[in-house]
Symmetry: C2
Subunit: 229 residues, 2 copies
Protein backbone atom coordinates (compact mmCIF):
# COMPACT_ATOMS: atom_id res chain seq x y z
CA UNK A 1 0.00 0.00 0.00
CA UNK A 2 2.75 2.42 1.03
CA UNK A 3 4.85 1.51 -2.00
CA UNK A 4 1.86 2.01 -4.26
CA UNK A 5 1.17 5.40 -2.69
CA UNK A 6 4.79 6.48 -3.17
CA UNK A 7 4.70 5.42 -6.81
CA UNK A 8 1.50 7.40 -7.32
CA UNK A 9 3.09 10.43 -5.65
CA UNK A 10 6.00 10.25 -8.07
CA UNK A 11 3.64 10.26 -11.01
CA UNK A 12 1.75 13.17 -9.45
CA UNK A 13 4.98 15.14 -9.00
CA UNK A 14 5.91 14.53 -12.64
CA UNK A 15 2.48 15.75 -13.74
CA UNK A 16 2.79 18.91 -11.65
CA UNK A 17 6.27 19.64 -13.04
CA UNK A 18 4.93 19.13 -16.58
CA UNK A 19 2.05 21.56 -15.91
CA UNK A 20 4.55 23.98 -14.39
CA UNK A 21 6.73 23.88 -17.47
CA UNK A 22 3.65 24.67 -19.61
CA UNK A 23 2.80 27.75 -17.54
CA UNK A 24 6.41 28.96 -17.54
CA UNK A 25 6.37 28.73 -21.34
CA UNK A 26 2.99 30.50 -21.47
CA UNK A 27 4.27 33.45 -19.40
CA UNK A 28 7.45 33.66 -21.47
CA UNK A 29 5.61 33.46 -24.78
CA UNK A 30 3.07 36.10 -23.73
CA UNK A 31 5.78 38.59 -22.78
CA UNK A 32 7.68 37.85 -26.02
CA UNK A 33 4.48 38.44 -28.02
CA UNK A 34 4.17 41.80 -26.28
CA UNK A 35 7.76 43.01 -26.47
CA UNK A 36 8.34 41.87 -30.07
CA UNK A 37 4.74 42.71 -31.08
CA UNK A 38 4.74 39.24 -32.62
CA UNK A 39 1.09 38.38 -33.12
CA UNK A 40 1.91 34.84 -34.29
CA UNK A 41 2.82 33.99 -30.68
CA UNK A 42 -0.68 34.77 -29.42
CA UNK A 43 -2.13 31.57 -30.83
CA UNK A 44 0.68 29.61 -29.15
CA UNK A 45 -0.30 31.14 -25.79
CA UNK A 46 -3.95 30.23 -26.43
CA UNK A 47 -3.01 26.63 -27.21
CA UNK A 48 -0.80 26.43 -24.13
CA UNK A 49 -3.72 27.65 -22.02
CA UNK A 50 -5.88 24.79 -23.35
CA UNK A 51 -3.13 22.27 -22.53
CA UNK A 52 -2.79 23.78 -19.04
CA UNK A 53 -6.53 23.39 -18.44
CA UNK A 54 -6.33 19.76 -19.53
CA UNK A 55 -3.38 19.09 -17.22
CA UNK A 56 -5.33 20.61 -14.33
CA UNK A 57 -8.19 18.16 -14.92
CA UNK A 58 -5.84 15.17 -15.22
CA UNK A 59 -4.05 16.05 -11.97
CA UNK A 60 -7.31 16.76 -10.18
CA UNK A 61 -8.74 13.39 -11.17
CA UNK A 62 -5.51 11.74 -10.05
CA UNK A 63 -5.70 13.47 -6.64
CA UNK A 64 -9.34 12.52 -6.14
CA UNK A 65 -8.55 8.88 -6.94
CA UNK A 66 -5.62 8.89 -4.55
CA UNK A 67 -7.80 10.33 -1.78
CA UNK A 68 -10.67 7.91 -2.21
CA UNK A 69 -8.65 4.76 -2.93
CA UNK A 70 -5.67 5.24 -0.61
CA UNK A 71 -7.24 7.28 2.20
CA UNK A 72 -4.00 9.03 3.10
CA UNK A 73 -3.54 10.65 6.51
CA UNK A 74 -1.35 13.36 8.07
CA UNK A 75 1.42 14.63 5.82
CA UNK A 76 0.38 12.35 2.93
CA UNK A 77 -3.10 13.84 3.04
CA UNK A 78 -1.65 17.34 3.15
CA UNK A 79 0.46 16.66 0.07
CA UNK A 80 -2.64 15.77 -1.96
CA UNK A 81 -4.62 18.62 -0.42
CA UNK A 82 -1.85 21.06 -1.40
CA UNK A 83 -1.66 19.61 -4.94
CA UNK A 84 -5.40 20.10 -5.39
CA UNK A 85 -5.10 23.74 -4.37
CA UNK A 86 -1.93 24.69 -6.18
CA UNK A 87 -3.13 23.41 -9.56
CA UNK A 88 -5.95 25.99 -9.29
CA UNK A 89 -3.36 28.73 -8.92
CA UNK A 90 -1.39 27.26 -11.80
CA UNK A 91 -4.47 27.23 -14.00
CA UNK A 92 -5.13 30.89 -13.19
CA UNK A 93 -1.57 31.78 -14.19
CA UNK A 94 -2.31 30.21 -17.57
CA UNK A 95 -5.46 32.36 -17.80
CA UNK A 96 -3.45 35.49 -17.05
CA UNK A 97 -0.86 34.65 -19.74
CA UNK A 98 -3.82 34.48 -22.13
CA UNK A 99 -5.18 37.79 -20.74
CA UNK A 100 -1.80 39.40 -21.46
CA UNK A 101 -1.78 37.99 -25.00
CA UNK A 102 -5.33 39.33 -25.48
CA UNK A 103 -4.28 42.90 -24.59
CA UNK A 104 -1.15 42.50 -26.75
CA UNK A 105 -3.41 42.23 -29.81
CA UNK A 106 -4.33 45.89 -29.26
CA UNK A 107 -0.72 46.92 -29.89
CA UNK A 108 -0.49 45.42 -33.40
CA UNK A 109 1.35 47.87 -35.70
CA UNK A 110 1.39 50.53 -32.98
CA UNK A 111 4.46 52.26 -31.64
CA UNK A 112 5.00 51.81 -27.90
CA UNK A 113 4.85 55.06 -25.91
CA UNK A 114 7.93 53.84 -24.02
CA UNK A 115 10.55 51.11 -23.99
CA UNK A 116 9.31 48.14 -22.04
CA UNK A 117 11.83 47.47 -19.29
CA UNK A 118 9.99 46.62 -16.08
CA UNK A 119 7.27 44.44 -17.56
CA UNK A 120 9.82 41.92 -18.96
CA UNK A 121 11.48 42.00 -15.51
CA UNK A 122 8.12 41.12 -13.95
CA UNK A 123 7.87 38.18 -16.36
CA UNK A 124 11.36 36.99 -15.44
CA UNK A 125 10.78 37.13 -11.67
CA UNK A 126 7.37 35.44 -11.86
CA UNK A 127 8.69 32.61 -14.06
CA UNK A 128 11.44 32.01 -11.51
CA UNK A 129 8.88 32.10 -8.66
CA UNK A 130 6.72 29.48 -10.37
CA UNK A 131 9.70 27.24 -11.09
CA UNK A 132 11.01 27.41 -7.51
CA UNK A 133 7.60 27.05 -5.84
CA UNK A 134 7.04 23.77 -7.70
CA UNK A 135 10.58 22.55 -6.97
CA UNK A 136 9.77 23.34 -3.32
CA UNK A 137 6.62 21.20 -3.55
CA UNK A 138 8.37 18.21 -5.06
CA UNK A 139 11.33 18.43 -2.65
CA UNK A 140 9.24 19.43 0.40
CA UNK A 141 11.57 22.39 0.77
CA UNK A 142 10.00 24.91 3.16
CA UNK A 143 12.93 27.35 2.98
CA UNK A 144 12.70 27.60 -0.80
CA UNK A 145 8.95 28.18 -0.53
CA UNK A 146 9.50 30.98 1.98
CA UNK A 147 12.01 32.58 -0.42
CA UNK A 148 9.37 32.57 -3.17
CA UNK A 149 6.94 34.36 -0.83
CA UNK A 150 9.56 37.00 -0.08
CA UNK A 151 10.28 37.50 -3.80
CA UNK A 152 6.68 38.50 -4.42
CA UNK A 153 7.65 41.91 -2.99
CA UNK A 154 9.93 42.41 -6.02
CA UNK A 155 6.96 41.91 -8.34
CA UNK A 156 4.74 44.20 -6.25
CA UNK A 157 7.38 46.93 -6.32
CA UNK A 158 7.81 46.57 -10.09
CA UNK A 159 4.06 47.03 -10.48
CA UNK A 160 4.18 50.28 -8.49
CA UNK A 161 7.11 51.47 -10.64
CA UNK A 162 5.28 50.71 -13.91
CA UNK A 163 2.10 52.39 -12.67
CA UNK A 164 3.88 55.54 -11.44
CA UNK A 165 5.86 55.88 -14.67
CA UNK A 166 2.80 55.53 -16.84
CA UNK A 167 0.73 57.97 -14.78
CA UNK A 168 3.54 60.50 -15.29
CA UNK A 169 3.40 59.85 -19.03
CA UNK A 170 -0.34 60.50 -19.05
CA UNK A 171 0.27 63.75 -17.21
CA UNK A 172 2.77 64.79 -19.87
CA UNK A 173 0.50 63.91 -22.76
CA UNK A 174 -3.07 62.68 -22.34
CA UNK A 175 -2.86 60.95 -25.75
CA UNK A 176 -0.75 58.36 -23.94
CA UNK A 177 -3.81 57.47 -21.82
CA UNK A 178 -5.20 54.49 -23.67
CA UNK A 179 -1.92 52.64 -24.18
CA UNK A 180 -0.75 53.54 -20.67
CA UNK A 181 -3.86 51.91 -19.20
CA UNK A 182 -3.42 48.78 -21.31
CA UNK A 183 0.20 48.49 -20.18
CA UNK A 184 -0.84 48.99 -16.53
CA UNK A 185 -3.39 46.18 -16.97
CA UNK A 186 -0.64 43.91 -18.30
CA UNK A 187 1.60 44.81 -15.35
CA UNK A 188 -1.37 44.08 -13.07
CA UNK A 189 -1.70 40.59 -14.60
CA UNK A 190 1.97 39.94 -13.88
CA UNK A 191 1.43 41.14 -10.32
CA UNK A 192 -1.44 38.62 -10.00
CA UNK A 193 0.79 35.88 -11.45
CA UNK A 194 3.24 36.70 -8.65
CA UNK A 195 0.39 36.40 -6.12
CA UNK A 196 -0.54 32.98 -7.51
CA UNK A 197 3.07 31.82 -7.29
CA UNK A 198 3.09 33.02 -3.68
CA UNK A 199 -0.13 31.06 -3.06
CA UNK A 200 1.54 27.94 -4.48
CA UNK A 201 4.48 28.48 -2.13
CA UNK A 202 2.10 28.93 0.82
CA UNK A 203 0.46 25.60 -0.04
CA UNK A 204 3.92 24.02 -0.05
CA UNK A 205 4.57 25.43 3.44
CA UNK A 206 1.22 23.99 4.53
CA UNK A 207 2.03 20.58 3.07
CA UNK A 208 5.35 20.46 4.92
CA UNK A 209 4.37 22.05 8.25
CA UNK A 210 0.60 21.55 8.46
CA UNK A 211 0.18 25.26 9.08
CA UNK A 212 -1.49 27.88 6.96
CA UNK A 213 0.69 30.96 7.01
CA UNK A 214 -0.11 34.38 5.65
CA UNK A 215 3.28 35.34 4.24
CA UNK A 216 2.38 38.82 2.99
CA UNK A 217 4.74 40.47 5.47
CA UNK A 218 7.15 37.59 5.64
CA UNK A 219 10.17 39.64 4.46
CA UNK A 220 9.76 42.10 7.32
CA UNK A 221 8.93 39.35 9.81
CA UNK A 222 12.08 37.42 8.98
CA UNK A 223 14.17 40.56 9.36
CA UNK A 224 12.61 41.07 12.79
CA UNK A 225 13.55 37.46 13.61
CA UNK A 226 10.06 36.34 14.57
CA UNK A 227 9.31 33.85 11.83
CA UNK A 228 9.61 30.41 13.40
CA UNK A 229 11.41 27.84 11.29
CA UNK B 1 -23.81 5.14 5.45
CA UNK B 2 -25.99 6.87 2.85
CA UNK B 3 -27.97 8.66 5.56
CA UNK B 4 -24.75 9.78 7.20
CA UNK B 5 -23.45 11.08 3.89
CA UNK B 6 -26.66 13.01 3.23
CA UNK B 7 -26.50 14.58 6.68
CA UNK B 8 -22.91 15.60 6.06
CA UNK B 9 -23.90 17.10 2.71
CA UNK B 10 -26.56 19.20 4.41
CA UNK B 11 -23.99 20.56 6.84
CA UNK B 12 -21.63 21.23 3.93
CA UNK B 13 -24.36 23.13 2.04
CA UNK B 14 -25.08 25.24 5.12
CA UNK B 15 -21.38 26.06 5.45
CA UNK B 16 -21.15 27.08 1.80
CA UNK B 17 -24.24 29.30 2.10
CA UNK B 18 -22.74 30.91 5.21
CA UNK B 19 -19.46 31.58 3.40
CA UNK B 20 -21.46 32.93 0.45
CA UNK B 21 -23.31 35.36 2.67
CA UNK B 22 -19.98 36.61 4.04
CA UNK B 23 -18.63 37.30 0.56
CA UNK B 24 -21.86 39.02 -0.53
CA UNK B 25 -21.54 41.31 2.52
CA UNK B 26 -17.85 41.89 1.75
CA UNK B 27 -18.60 43.00 -1.84
CA UNK B 28 -21.46 45.23 -0.66
CA UNK B 29 -19.41 46.79 2.13
CA UNK B 30 -16.45 47.45 -0.16
CA UNK B 31 -18.60 49.28 -2.72
CA UNK B 32 -20.33 51.27 0.06
CA UNK B 33 -16.93 52.25 1.46
CA UNK B 34 -16.01 53.51 -2.01
CA UNK B 35 -19.21 55.34 -2.94
CA UNK B 36 -19.72 56.96 0.48
CA UNK B 37 -15.94 57.40 1.00
CA UNK B 38 -16.60 55.86 4.40
CA UNK B 39 -13.18 54.73 5.66
CA UNK B 40 -14.70 53.10 8.76
CA UNK B 41 -16.08 50.35 6.49
CA UNK B 42 -12.62 49.29 5.32
CA UNK B 43 -11.83 47.54 8.58
CA UNK B 44 -15.13 45.69 8.34
CA UNK B 45 -14.14 44.40 4.89
CA UNK B 46 -10.75 43.31 6.25
CA UNK B 47 -12.40 41.41 9.09
CA UNK B 48 -14.86 39.78 6.71
CA UNK B 49 -11.94 38.65 4.57
CA UNK B 50 -10.39 36.93 7.60
CA UNK B 51 -13.70 35.18 8.38
CA UNK B 52 -13.99 34.11 4.72
CA UNK B 53 -10.49 32.59 4.83
CA UNK B 54 -11.42 30.69 8.00
CA UNK B 55 -14.63 29.38 6.44
CA UNK B 56 -12.66 28.18 3.42
CA UNK B 57 -10.39 26.13 5.68
CA UNK B 58 -13.32 24.67 7.65
CA UNK B 59 -15.13 23.63 4.46
CA UNK B 60 -11.97 22.25 2.92
CA UNK B 61 -11.26 20.10 5.97
CA UNK B 62 -14.86 18.92 5.92
CA UNK B 63 -14.60 17.94 2.24
CA UNK B 64 -11.31 16.08 2.77
CA UNK B 65 -12.84 14.12 5.67
CA UNK B 66 -15.89 13.26 3.58
CA UNK B 67 -13.68 12.02 0.73
CA UNK B 68 -11.42 9.89 2.88
CA UNK B 69 -14.03 8.52 5.28
CA UNK B 70 -17.02 8.05 2.97
CA UNK B 71 -15.27 7.37 -0.33
CA UNK B 72 -18.09 8.80 -2.43
CA UNK B 73 -18.48 7.87 -6.11
CA UNK B 74 -20.09 9.35 -9.23
CA UNK B 75 -22.31 12.38 -8.57
CA UNK B 76 -21.57 12.33 -4.81
CA UNK B 77 -17.86 12.54 -5.57
CA UNK B 78 -18.47 15.36 -8.05
CA UNK B 79 -20.41 17.35 -5.43
CA UNK B 80 -17.43 17.29 -3.07
CA UNK B 81 -15.00 17.92 -5.91
CA UNK B 82 -17.04 20.97 -6.97
CA UNK B 83 -17.26 22.24 -3.37
CA UNK B 84 -13.46 22.02 -3.03
CA UNK B 85 -13.02 24.08 -6.17
CA UNK B 86 -15.72 26.69 -5.68
CA UNK B 87 -14.54 27.65 -2.20
CA UNK B 88 -11.26 28.71 -3.83
CA UNK B 89 -13.19 31.06 -6.10
CA UNK B 90 -15.18 32.30 -3.13
CA UNK B 91 -12.02 32.99 -1.18
CA UNK B 92 -10.60 34.98 -4.11
CA UNK B 93 -13.76 37.08 -4.22
CA UNK B 94 -13.11 37.95 -0.58
CA UNK B 95 -9.55 38.95 -1.53
CA UNK B 96 -10.86 41.20 -4.30
CA UNK B 97 -13.32 42.93 -1.93
CA UNK B 98 -10.29 43.66 0.23
CA UNK B 99 -8.33 44.86 -2.84
CA UNK B 100 -11.18 47.27 -3.62
CA UNK B 101 -11.21 48.54 -0.02
CA UNK B 102 -7.43 49.00 -0.25
CA UNK B 103 -7.71 51.28 -3.30
CA UNK B 104 -10.65 53.10 -1.67
CA UNK B 105 -8.25 54.36 1.02
CA UNK B 106 -6.57 56.47 -1.69
CA UNK B 107 -9.79 58.45 -2.17
CA UNK B 108 -10.04 59.67 1.43
CA UNK B 109 -11.07 63.36 1.45
CA UNK B 110 -10.74 63.56 -2.34
CA UNK B 111 -13.46 64.66 -4.71
CA UNK B 112 -14.40 62.04 -7.31
CA UNK B 113 -13.69 63.08 -10.90
CA UNK B 114 -17.12 61.68 -11.82
CA UNK B 115 -20.30 60.27 -10.29
CA UNK B 116 -19.91 56.55 -9.75
CA UNK B 117 -22.75 54.88 -11.61
CA UNK B 118 -21.45 51.77 -13.35
CA UNK B 119 -19.17 50.50 -10.59
CA UNK B 120 -22.10 50.16 -8.11
CA UNK B 121 -23.98 48.37 -10.91
CA UNK B 122 -21.07 45.94 -11.25
CA UNK B 123 -21.28 45.31 -7.50
CA UNK B 124 -25.02 44.65 -7.72
CA UNK B 125 -24.75 42.20 -10.62
CA UNK B 126 -21.81 40.30 -9.11
CA UNK B 127 -23.55 39.96 -5.72
CA UNK B 128 -26.57 38.50 -7.49
CA UNK B 129 -24.32 36.14 -9.50
CA UNK B 130 -22.65 34.85 -6.33
CA UNK B 131 -26.00 34.35 -4.59
CA UNK B 132 -27.53 32.47 -7.52
CA UNK B 133 -24.45 30.35 -8.27
CA UNK B 134 -24.50 29.03 -4.69
CA UNK B 135 -28.27 28.48 -4.77
CA UNK B 136 -27.63 26.52 -7.97
CA UNK B 137 -25.04 24.38 -6.15
CA UNK B 138 -27.29 23.58 -3.21
CA UNK B 139 -30.32 22.87 -5.44
CA UNK B 140 -28.31 21.14 -8.22
CA UNK B 141 -29.93 23.60 -10.62
CA UNK B 142 -28.06 23.53 -13.93
CA UNK B 143 -30.33 26.10 -15.60
CA UNK B 144 -29.72 28.67 -12.89
CA UNK B 145 -25.96 28.05 -13.14
CA UNK B 146 -26.10 28.61 -16.90
CA UNK B 147 -27.95 31.90 -16.32
CA UNK B 148 -25.15 33.06 -14.01
CA UNK B 149 -22.59 32.30 -16.73
CA UNK B 150 -24.62 34.34 -19.23
CA UNK B 151 -24.86 37.27 -16.80
CA UNK B 152 -21.09 37.56 -16.67
CA UNK B 153 -21.38 39.35 -20.04
CA UNK B 154 -23.22 42.19 -18.25
CA UNK B 155 -20.25 42.63 -15.92
CA UNK B 156 -17.75 42.45 -18.79
CA UNK B 157 -19.69 45.10 -20.74
CA UNK B 158 -19.86 47.37 -17.67
CA UNK B 159 -16.09 47.10 -17.37
CA UNK B 160 -15.63 48.21 -20.98
CA UNK B 161 -18.02 51.13 -20.36
CA UNK B 162 -16.14 52.27 -17.25
CA UNK B 163 -12.78 51.96 -19.00
CA UNK B 164 -13.90 53.87 -22.11
CA UNK B 165 -15.47 56.66 -20.06
CA UNK B 166 -12.38 57.10 -17.93
CA UNK B 167 -10.00 57.08 -20.90
CA UNK B 168 -12.11 59.90 -22.38
CA UNK B 169 -11.80 61.80 -19.11
CA UNK B 170 -8.02 61.43 -19.20
CA UNK B 171 -8.03 62.74 -22.76
CA UNK B 172 -10.00 65.82 -21.61
CA UNK B 173 -7.74 66.49 -18.66
CA UNK B 174 -4.60 64.52 -17.89
CA UNK B 175 -4.89 65.51 -14.22
CA UNK B 176 -7.68 62.93 -14.07
CA UNK B 177 -5.11 60.22 -14.85
CA UNK B 178 -4.27 58.92 -11.41
CA UNK B 179 -7.83 58.66 -10.11
CA UNK B 180 -9.05 57.31 -13.45
CA UNK B 181 -6.54 54.47 -13.25
CA UNK B 182 -7.50 53.65 -9.66
CA UNK B 183 -11.17 53.53 -10.64
CA UNK B 184 -10.37 51.31 -13.63
CA UNK B 185 -8.48 48.97 -11.27
CA UNK B 186 -11.56 48.78 -9.03
CA UNK B 187 -13.77 48.06 -12.04
CA UNK B 188 -11.26 45.37 -13.04
CA UNK B 189 -11.60 43.73 -9.60
CA UNK B 190 -15.37 43.63 -10.04
CA UNK B 191 -14.88 42.11 -13.46
CA UNK B 192 -12.71 39.39 -11.84
CA UNK B 193 -15.35 38.85 -9.16
CA UNK B 194 -17.79 38.20 -12.01
CA UNK B 195 -15.32 35.69 -13.51
CA UNK B 196 -15.06 33.89 -10.16
CA UNK B 197 -18.86 33.73 -9.87
CA UNK B 198 -18.91 32.28 -13.38
CA UNK B 199 -16.29 29.72 -12.33
CA UNK B 200 -18.50 28.73 -9.37
CA UNK B 201 -21.43 28.29 -11.75
CA UNK B 202 -19.27 26.16 -14.08
CA UNK B 203 -18.37 23.92 -11.15
CA UNK B 204 -22.08 23.56 -10.40
CA UNK B 205 -22.69 22.50 -14.02
CA UNK B 206 -19.86 19.97 -13.64
CA UNK B 207 -21.29 18.60 -10.38
CA UNK B 208 -24.71 18.09 -12.01
CA UNK B 209 -23.67 16.87 -15.47
CA UNK B 210 -20.15 15.51 -15.00
CA UNK B 211 -18.96 17.73 -17.84
CA UNK B 212 -16.55 20.63 -17.78
CA UNK B 213 -17.97 23.35 -19.98
CA UNK B 214 -16.32 26.55 -21.09
CA UNK B 215 -19.27 28.92 -20.92
CA UNK B 216 -17.52 32.07 -22.14
CA UNK B 217 -19.64 32.24 -25.29
CA UNK B 218 -22.67 30.58 -23.75
CA UNK B 219 -25.01 33.54 -24.41
CA UNK B 220 -24.34 33.43 -28.15
CA UNK B 221 -24.39 29.62 -28.21
CA UNK B 222 -27.81 29.47 -26.57
CA UNK B 223 -29.16 32.03 -29.02
CA UNK B 224 -27.89 29.86 -31.84
CA UNK B 225 -29.69 26.91 -30.25
CA UNK B 226 -26.65 24.67 -30.03
CA UNK B 227 -26.23 24.40 -26.27
CA UNK B 228 -27.43 20.94 -25.29
CA UNK B 229 -29.56 20.77 -22.17
Amino acid sequence: MRKRFDQELEILNAEIIKMGSLIETAIETSVNALVDQDMSLIEIVNNLEIEIDEMEKIIEKHCMNLLVQQQPVASDLRLIEAALKLITDMERIGDHAEDIAEITKLFENKKFIKNLVHIPQMAEVTISMVKRSLAAYVNKDEKLAIQVCIDDDIVDNLFVTVKTELIDMIREDSNNGEQAIDLIMIAKYFERIGDHAQNIAEWVIFSVTGEHKNTDNIGKTIQAGSFAE
